[in-house]
Symmetry: C2
């Protein structure tokens, strides 16, 4: 399946950017809530280093994942759907070919 | 000034261990309070990564600093006094030579 470098119309670019930002916002908000909750319960140094390890992994994951480049965007969306940060409906307006590629990739 | 490998009596070892553990406990408790407070105010991803950087530095610092080996213990105590986690009075009972070395080192 060829998914790299599909063409994006201006309308699609708007839809993509909005969906991307929405997913990012959701994931960040969930992360902040989780960290605030976790941190409030920490009473031992070991738990603190666990939180540190968790943040290291999250930082690496988030910084790597939210890469807004059209050549890889369908993969990014598929991943975000898989993880629950985006719903395929929120990509409505992209052409059918892109949507079906995202749908297939998100089930892999 | 020769500070490595001084001899430690059993009484001194007890005093040293108690002081070491006390300083560690104080620093850890202060750190946990700080992190709980910081985390509760985080509303942006940038602040979260700042906390992550802070924890990385603290972890490196704490794990390096609290090294209980008699050969380096006077340096460790001097550092802890300098940083405010230990008071020289809490080393009372160590021989005068050790105490004066720690006092000198803590002012360097």
């Amino acid at each position: 399946m060829q998914v790299s470098d599909p063409e994006w119309t201006d309308i699609e670019k708007n839809i993509a950017r909005t969906a991307f930002d929405k997913a990012h916002k959701r994931e960040v908000e969930a992360l902040l809530i989780h960290v605030r909750e976790e941190a409030s319960t920490i009473v031992e140094l070991g738990n603190l280093w666990q939180l540190h390890d968790f943040l290291s992994a999250k930082r690496f994951g988030i910084e790597g994942k939210y890469d807004y480049q059209y050549s890889g965007l369908l993969f990014v969306f598929a991943g975000l759907i898989k993880e629950g940060w985006l719903h395929i409906n929120e990509l409505e307006g992209l052409d059918k070919d892109k949507l079906s590629k995202v749908a297939v990739l998100s089930r892999m």
